[in-house]
């Protein structure tokens, strides 16, 4: 982008951008009909390319994407549903893990027993898939812990239906070798997100408490590419890391390998609850926004699908816990309802009308808003005094916050 020039982007309901280039003498050029895309718009160009692919391979998904784009101005949402499966079982024990309190190993340590709550069945996931399809939702992320530990994963994919939804796998890469990558692609899998938290091998292995984690992750990238899967590298950013040489090396690797780099901000939750020192400042987050101009790097708050960058609670993503509780953000521990007990539509509407969650805000609520972080962590702390299970049910957490319409 050329500083001093004004670029006017018009985002139309079809998959294209119309670019007005206003020259310094203020004479607007005639608008060309389609697709003048500068390099720094490449993520949107990628969205366009991916949508064209879906029109051929997954027409139902393509239809839902177009419908969402046509109706988003009316306030229609189409969030990602992130499914935590297999009781979040994991082969690693990462220092920043937000899932540890949900895992059987942690529950046994604290209570002597597994989670006693009813867990989602394949029939529940099938029903969820059907409800989501009716609502125009088109993306499922499968995660854990480590999702590949689940021996019924193939049955889950069938229940979710990879022709109706894009199935995205979250993995630490340990088990994602060439055979697994081919298998995932053959099952109808769409994309894999592989975690790598440092480009220094010994640091990543130490952070993950697993020697060999780094080399397995790098091999997983290779395996994913060879199987023709969409791919991204997911990394956790702690305070000041964005300015480090290690992070620059990671960016360079992703640039060279053409792997989109997805950055999550460290949150003071789960295993990192006492680590406010890891929480990113605005200075860190602003630096990422500068880097977005040059590289294929993005956060969950990067502008996408024609919308400004913003907090995506409820509207952009919801986590489905193993027992059906819906959590409006991957890093929160407060529920907005249980999908095995009431319709998904009602739960999402309730979430959108919650004053913390629905209304527009730029900042990451659980990552940057200390007013919310204090409310969240105090609520979790109070809840854990009389129950070992997370998330905090709606009535005890978000249910105490007023609605937009009240």
């Amino acid at each position: 982008m050329n500083p001093g020039r004004v670029y006017l982007f018009l985002l139309i309901a079809e998959d294209a951008l119309l670019l007005y280039n206003i020259t310094p003498d203020r004479t607007p050029l005639m608008a060309t009909p389609l697709q003048i895309l500068a390099k720094d718009e490449s993520l949107t160009r990628e969205e366009d390319r991916k949508r064209k692919d879906q029109s051929l391979s997954r027409p139902r998904v393509n239809h839902k994407i177009k419908s969402y784009f046509n109706n988003m101005i009316d306030g229609v949402i189409s969030p990602i549903l992130r499914l935590k499966i297999n009781r979040s079982a994991c082969n690693m024990q990462c220092q920043h893990c937000c899932e540890e309190p949900y895992m059987t190993r942690d529950l046994i340590k604290r209570t002597g027993a597994m989670d006693q709550r009813r867990q989602m069945t394949l029939d529940d996931y099938k029903k969820l898939s059907d409800e989501s399809d009716e609502l125009g939702i088109f993306r499922f992320v499968i995660t854990g812990g480590e999702a590949l530990l689940d021996k019924s994963l193939g049955d889950l994919f069938i229940a979710l239906d990879p022709m109706k939804h894009l199935i995205i796998l979250d993995t630490n890469g340990w088990y994602f070798d060439e055979d697994k990558a081919r298998w995932f692609a053959d099952q109808g899998g769409y994309k894999v997100q592989i975690s790598l938290d440092s480009f220094i091998e010994v640091e990543h292995d130490k952070f993950r408490n697993k020697p060999g984690a780094y080399s397995r992750a790098l091999n997983a990238f290779k395996a994913a590419k060879e199987s023709g899967l969409e791919l991204l590298l997911s990394t956790c950013l702690v305070k000041d890391r964005v300015f480090s040489p290690e992070f620059q090396d990671m960016i360079a690797y992703c640039d060279e390998e053409e792997i989109p780099l997805y950055v999550t901000l460290a949150k003071p939750v789960g295993s990192a609850r006492d680590h406010n020192d890891w929480v990113c400042t605005k200075k860190d987050v602003d630096e990422i926004k500068l880097l977005e101009q040059k590289y294929q790097i993005f956060t969950h708050m990067t502008p996408n699908y024609g919308q400004p960058g913003k907090c995506i609670t409820v509207k952009g993503i919801n986590t489905v816990n193993h027992d059906g509780e819906i959590i409006p953000c991957p890093y929160m521990d407060l529920s907005i309802g249980n999908v095995t007990k009431e319709p998904l539509r009602d739960i999402l509407e309730r979430g959108m009308l919650n004053k913390w969650l629905g209304p527009y805000r730029d900042e990451c609520l659980i990552g940057e808003n200390f007013n919310f972080i204090d409310f969240h962590n105090q609520t979790v702390s109070d809840h854990l005094e009389h129950s070992p299970y997370l998330p905090v049910p709606y009535e005890s957490g978000f249910g105490r916050i007023s609605s937009v319409t009240s």
Partner: protein, 259 residues
């Protein structure tokens, strides 16, 4: 009418994010109590005459029983040259956005200014003054003479767009006022490009509710995206049939005087 921080006191029927208003989002005000313009591009009007007119306007506001408390909030001066481009969108594309872009990118060379429109048509012939906001009168004035004024960006902080507009029914008519729109806010941002750029805090989104898009679901605003400045036409819908009410959205009031 306005409280101790210069914010309009909402009626019970008006929709705001919460009361009392929170202060999570902050403007980066360049210098306190700067109530005069430092420079302006129209050399046919002397800077001293501009600032004398501003001082005169300021005195009127200070002595007005209904408006004086608005000066407790951020107060940003502007000057608009007489212009004869009647279409708001055309004027923004030809005059205001290029000036703003030059000013912002000069101040912050690593950052960008973008205008992004969530619609399938252009800005030209798509924006018009919203009835009852008195922005039509403001446009009429700037078509006949240069105008000086003050922009109060937090006057309707955390009000919904429809409530910002309904507030104008209560505003006095003996001093020219209007709900703020893109022309004078562009001018302010051109003069003070760092207002929405703070290293430690997120800034409010400056709603330009004096204008409406021909698609009533859309609204216009200026916002920062990290170190960048952006103009957006975006949806005003939280859900189908439910209007957005955001802690971050702020409507402004413009008080002005032709010179």
């Amino acid at each position: 009418m306005f409280d101790l921080v210069g914010r309009f006191i909402p009626h019970s029927s008006q929709s705001t994010y919460r009361e009392p208003c929170s202060d999570f989002y902050k403007l980066n005000l360049p210098f306190p109590n700067q109530l005069k313009v430092r420079d302006h591009p129209d050399k046919s009007v002397e800077i001293d005459h501009v600032n004398d007119s501003l001082s005169h306007l300021l005195s009127k506001i200070k002595t007005d029983n209904q408006l004086s408390n608005i000066l407790n909030g951020p107060t940003l001066p502007f000057f608009i040259s007489k212009t004869s481009i009647p279409d708001i969108g055309e004027r923004l594309e030809k005059i205001d956005f290029p000036s703003l872009s030059n000013s912002f990118c000069k101040a912050f060379p690593k950052s960008h200014f973008k205008a992004i429109i969530q619609d399938n048509l252009q800005l030209v012939e798509r924006l018009h003054p919203y009835p009852s906001t008195r922005y039509d009168l403001f446009l009429d004035h700037i078509s006949r003479s240069s105008v000086v004024g003050y922009y109060f960006p937090l006057a309707f902080n955390q009000f919904s767009i429809s409530s910002q507009r309904s507030c104008m029914n209560s505003l006095p008519t003996h001093i020219p006022v209007c709900l703020s729109g893109p022309i004078e806010v562009s001018s302010v941002l051109t003069s003070y490009p760092s207002i929405l750029f703070d290293k430690t805090s997120y800034s409010p989104i400056l709603c330009l509710s004096g204008v409406a898009h021909y698609d009533a679901r859309l609204i216009a605003c200026f916002k920062s995206y990290g170190p960048h400045l952006e103009f957006w036409i975006i949806s005003n819908c939280l859900l189908p049939g439910v209007e957005q009410v955001s802690e971050q959205w702020s409507g402004g009031l413009t008080i002005y005087h032709p010179i």
